[in-house]
Symmetry: C2
Subunit: 305 residues, 2 copies
């Protein structure tokens, strides 16, 4: 934390645009001190911002963190590591994995824990993935598997946070996508560099809430084939369709595009297609067991459910 000057100085390469995103995480809304280990809160804070860069196909240049903390989280308690240290450890480990320097920030005493993360990235001019480029006939894809974060949150909620302190390997793997989501930077960057995607965004609020946003920006409608949606092991179809915070990429590609089956070990799965917007037809239709129904937002609301 802390830089010598009033601002951090960054340089993009010639011919690059900058991508900037900011995400506010609040105790009680985006994380709970009794459910989420400090390391996971730090990881998730940065992952939200990195995932926004991934959605644009940008490479990270630097992160900036404004942190507000109650005094008891900054000092050691009963010989334990201070919460703040765990938070930084989690955040910096992910930052290192994606070569993202923490270039500045602000620290203040606050009555609750809050973290605002800013990511600055760079992308070749005109190559950024946008939400507005989907065209009728394009095929709809996701990276990875969906519903894992919702499953993890359910396990935490059912155990009132105790699940995080158990060391059962299966449980750890089930909590992984919720506690330590992986931003899909390599995938987004390759899609942008090779011009493979016509539109993209990251799945932060759940497929049923996010896909209509992509459709709205592109002026199109979409059909999702429920049977094709890749569910995280143990997650229900409901969790895969409506659960938030998976931070996988949702993207569209021309039907003639030659997509790899995976990028850097993460599978790409076709889950539907883009169709024309028509009066009286829902913006997004779900095809499930031979039936068509409007695909309505499940309303992922972090902890309010």
């Amino acid at each position: 934390m802390g830089i010598g000057d009033d601002c951090a100085l960054l340089a993009a390469r010639p011919g690059e645009e900058l991508a900037v995103t900011t995400d506010l995480s609040l105790e009680g809304r985006h994380f709970r001190l009794d459910w989420h280990p400090a390391e996971a809160v730090g990881h998730r804070t940065l992952a939200r911002g990195l995932s926004d860069l991934a959605a644009m196909g940008a490479r990270p240049l630097a992160a900036f963190l404004s942190l507000g903390l109650p005094p008891e989280l900054t000092c050691a308690k009963r010989g334990q590591t201070p919460w703040m240290e765990g938070f930084y450890n989690g955040l910096l480990a992910l930052a290192e994995a994606h070569a993202t320097p923490l270039a500045g920030g602000d620290l203040a005493q606050a009555p609750l824990a809050l973290a605002d993360i800013v990511l600055v990235g760079a992308v070749a001019s005109g190559k950024a993935l946008r939400r507005s480029g989907a065209r009728v006939g394009d095929q709809l894809y996701v990276t990875g598997r969906l519903g894992g974060a919702a499953l993890g949150l359910q396990l935490l909620a059912e155990s009132q946070g105790k699940a995080r302190r158990q060391t059962h390997p299966e449980l750890e793997s089930a909590l992984g996508p919720h506690l330590y989501p992986q931003p899909r930077l390599e995938q987004g960057q390759m899609l942008a560099r090779k011009g493979l995607a016509t539109a993209a965004m990251d799945l932060s609020d759940g497929l049923s809430l996010d896909l209509p946003r992509l459709c709205a920006e592109s002026g199109v409608a979409a059909e999702v084939e429920a049977e094709q949606v890749p569910c995280f092991p143990g997650a229900t179809l409901e969790q895969a369709l409506h659960g938030g915070e998976d931070y996988e990429l949702l993207f569209t590609a021309s039907p003639t595009a030659r997509l790899p089956r995976s990028i850097a070990g993460v599978p790409l799965t076709r889950i539907g297609q883009i169709v024309a917007r028509r009066k009286g037809r829902p913006e997004v239709t779900l095809l499930h067991k031979g039936r068509r129904s409007p695909f309505l937002a499940g309303g992922w609301e972090h902890f309010s459910a």
Copy 2:
């Protein structure tokens, strides 16, 4: 608020570097709902960030705002404008005055009002004003007048905030620097463009706290001539030396530099000089009425005083 894509895209000109700064403002610490009009909170939030750009000599490219608000501040009360609307009005008026688009942000419900502002600016490569460039023999300058923000805060505190609702013209002018500080963007940009300053920073925590920071970054010491310090009308010398949040620029210039007496109507005043750092001598010395004394930080702490 809200952009169509996951990030905002910005382009610097060829040969420019980017300057990025982030500042967190919290209810109770940086502003009080009963003392500060919503417009002033919005203005001050953005002014903090713009002032950091001014200190580097950068021109603003875009601002990003993460806002956390309790529900009662987002809705109208007894036919009055919602607090949030006043906040935006104040912020956007200053943004417009400095041609700074609000390019994105985040809005969340929070138990207290908080605003994290991010400013992205551009400055010709290698031309940014730094804190580290002051050399022995350089002269020390400030823009504008000091102590006005501390005076305004004192008036607000003495009246328990009632001063803001009075319409006495003298009072309004005395509250101005505290409620509506003016970031010195034109001044910083001209100093950078013409290479007039060897080092610069903005005065956010008060001269007695900020000058040692500049000295530390430059590896030098300084002498301040108290009689030369330009006090805001009505402010005491104490307020001018120790009061925070004036957001004037503090800078150094070579003794041979030809500085204008003012830039865009804001006076530049010589207040001292840079001297060598010596063991046993204070980092900053105050010359006052023929006496020399160590210039110690008054400890500006927003509302804790």
